[in-house]
């Protein structure tokens, strides 16, 4: 593989040369080579660091504040009994759920945006969130279900909606735009179902349902961490292994066929993974708005690299969600407003900015 610095036209601006130089090719004596994007790697490391720092701050925040040093000491087994209980039993699972949900949403969003070839093709807009909400609302409103039952309901709702969208968008292959538009139709139907369920609920159930619908991390414990962690452990490597095919597919189906990518198979596999990730994340924390939409876009702007940016999106999602939860705890007080409100407001502002700049650049 030829290094990209060599392809830079003579007389190009210095900045372009500098960023092109950030790609290094690593070669083995056996003739294998892999291109290493130094900037993307740096971004991933920095985001990981930011996510961990926000996690430590978040663990220290609450009705019983703990300093960052004490949090770290307790995490490594050196705190007193009270701190240990608060950190390990109450706050650590919440933060882990936040990290995992953010990572799943970031990765799922990046996959959907790449598959639909549209920066706005996130699971929020495709109706997956509404489908999961419908499942959860059925449990809350009709059966007054426990937290566990609500989680199962949301998972079933999200998966069923994802399957329905895929089947309805199928017509000799799934075309990106058709996927988006079918998703919009599904989302409208599901919104109506949710509206109906909300009017049927009594006010207490409705308030509970609304908090769930907004997306919240409060009261999450270890029971939510393990399934989510197991799912991520299976799906994340699977997705990353197929990232190459996804990158080829950005050039269009015909070109990727010619380059040896089995387009429909890769698409089905990745879409299934994206639906699973999103549905699981939604089941654990509710349809936290805009993380799936904004994380891949922010990651792309930081790495300045085209392509799906899967790993940076994953780290960005995790960092974003935990940081948003920390902000909501700091600004509004412990557990006053669910994290979904903060991501909604941040995401809304970002979305408008995105639409304006994309329009100026003529990209959407």
């Amino acid at each position: 593989m030829k290094s990209e610095a060599g392809t830079t036209a003579p007389g190009a601006v210095p900045g372009a040369v500098k960023s092109a130089r950030a790609n290094r090719a690593v070669r083995t004596p056996g003739g294998l080579s892999v291109r290493l994007d130094v900037r993307a790697l740096t971004v991933v490391l920095l985001l990981l660091l930011a996510g961990l720092a926000a996690s430590v701050l978040l663990i220290g925040t609450g009705d019983f504040p703990i300093g960052a040093g004490d949090v770290l000491r307790t995490l490594f087994g050196g705190g007193d009994a009270g701190q240990e209980f608060i950190v390990n039993e109450l706050r650590l699972p919440r933060v882990l759920v936040g990290l995992l949900v953010g990572a799943s949403l970031g990765l799922g969003g990046a996959l959907f945006q790449a598959l639909s070839r549209n920066p706005l093709g996130s699971p929020d807009i495709l109706g997956l969130g509404q489908g999961a909400t419908a499942g959860a609302l059925v449990m809350i409103v009709l059966f007054s279900g426990s937290a566990g039952e609500v989680t199962v309901g949301a998972l079933v709702g999200g998966l069923a909606t994802g399957l329905a969208i895929y089947l309805l968008a199928w017509k000799r292959g799934v075309h990106g735009y058709r996927l988006v538009l079918v998703g919009i139709g599904m989302s409208a139907i599901m919104t109506a179902v949710n509206g109906y369920l909300m009017t049927k609920a009594d006010l207490v159930d409705a308030a509970r349902a609304l908090v769930w619908m907004t997306g919240s991390l409060s009261g999450r414990d270890w029971a939510q961490v393990w399934p989510l962690l197991a799912l991520c452990a299976v799906l994340v490597p699977l997705v990353l292994a197929n990232a190459r095919g996804l990158r080829m597919m950005e050039m269009g189906d015909d070109v990727s066929y010619a380059l040896g990518v089995r387009v429909e198979r890769v698409r089905l596999l990745l879409m299934l993974a994206a639906v699973l990730l999103t549905a699981a994340a939604t089941a654990a924390a509710g349809p936290v708005s805009f993380v799936a939409l904004t994380a891949p876009q922010l990651a792309r702007r930081l790495t300045r690299s085209p392509g799906p940016n899967l790993l940076p999106s994953l780290c960005m999602g995790a960092a974003l969600l935990v940081a948003a939860d920390w902000i909501s705890q700091r600004v509004f007080g412990a557990d006053q407003l669910p994290v979904g409100v903060v991501t909604g407001v941040l995401g809304g502002v970002y979305l408008l900015w995105l639409l304006v700049t994309e329009r100026k650049a003529g990209r959407i």
Partner: protein, 332 residues
């Protein structure tokens, strides 16, 4: 156009009006409280204040509002579809309804507004702001279905985020809004109708008057210019008509989606692309759908009711997906 086809269309319009009359009568006669035809007749023509008369009186207000709002939404949809040359344009999909809702929620929660004549102004403000925003982001330069639909849906999503934040912090707002946001005709009173009537009528007249310039626009900007159409004036007036109609309808009934999408689209397959036919057909058949959905909503969940907004979305969603599937992807 050959005279026979014109005659067929005229007869079709007449039949549509007759269907509308039947639906209107059904809407007055059928409801959660079962009345005999004699009681309905008594309430209509010999009203003396009995319980049945009060019920009939309520249903008349409700039917009248459904008639007006339905025609307004249908016309708004037809105008937007012609303006954007996009068969999937719909006031709900383009976020105009959500803009009106967000403004009304703001009015209820932060300004303590309770009377409808102030709601209407807030709804207009919200609808106009979002309409302008969607147009600016998605349509002003080479509108495509995806651009407009995405811009509208994205803004709708953002506005619903705002609605949730407001409702979480305020239980009484939640209690009011969870019924308002699904869209229903139950809020109809004579004063409601009096408030929105002038706006709806003005919007309808404006929309019907735009048939000819919009016909020219549908042929493409260059052809329209060559034919002497004033592009900018037509665009601004069309957005104005759509915004006034949607804002008024949403202020009175809450957000109701898909009426403005389904009816003009179905009508177009019968009348062809001539807006001088599409607009009157849409104005007659949209209330048929809205009132029909309202009657269905009253029957299926007796003794309670299913709000008309829910029924239209559950009927309209599958139709939308069907339309998306039927279109060739090259055109999308």
């Amino acid at each position: 156009m050959p005279p026979t086809r014109r005659a067929i269309r005229a007869v079709g319009l007449l039949v549509s009006v007759l269907i509308l009359v039947v639906v209107v009568l059904a809407s007055i006669a059928i409801g959660a409280k079962q009345l005999s035809l004699g009681e309905v007749w008594h309430g209509l023509f010999e009203s003396s204040g009995t319980y049945g008369d009060v019920v009939v009186d309520d249903r008349i207000s409700r039917t009248l509002l459904g008639l007006l709002a339905g025609a307004g939404l249908g016309l708004a949809g037809a105008v937007l579809q012609a303006l954007t040359r996009n068969p999937l344009a719909d006031p709900g999909l383009l976020g105009i309804n959500a803009g009106a809702s967000a403004a009304v929620v703001t009015a209820i929660t932060f300004f303590g507004v309770t009377s409808l004549n102030v709601y209407v102004w807030f709804a207009f403000l919200g609808a106009a702001a979002v309409g302008a925003l969607v147009w600016f982001l998605g349509g002003s330069r080479g509108a495509t279905p995806v651009r407009l639909a995405l811009a509208g849906t994205a803004i709708t999503a953002a506005l619903y985020g705002y609605l949730q934040a407001v409702m979480i912090t305020d239980d009484s707002a939640l209690n009011k809004m969870r019924f308002w946001t699904v869209g229903s005709l139950t809020s109809a009173t004579d004063s409601t109708i009096k408030q929105v009537l002038p706006f709806l009528v003005a919007g309808m007249v404006l929309a019907l008057a735009l048939a000819r310039p919009l016909n020219a626009m549908e042929m493409g900007d260059d052809t329209a210019k060559a034919l002497g159409a004033n592009l900018n004036r037509t665009r601004v007036l069309s957005m104005l008509a759509a915004t006034v109609l949607c804002g008024a309808a949403t202020a009175a009934c809450g957000p109701i989606v898909f009426v403005g999408l389904m009816v003009p689209h179905a009508v177009r397959s019968f009348t062809g692309p001539d807006l001088r036919w599409i607009l009157p057909y849409a104005a007659v058949l949209s209330p048929v759908l809205l009132l029909g959905a309202d009657v269905v909503g009253r029957i299926v969940a007796r003794p309670a009711e299913l709000q008309v907004g829910i029924v239209t979305a559950i009927l309209g969603g599958p139709v939308f997906i069907f339309l998306v599937r039927r279109r060739r992807t090259a055109q999308l």
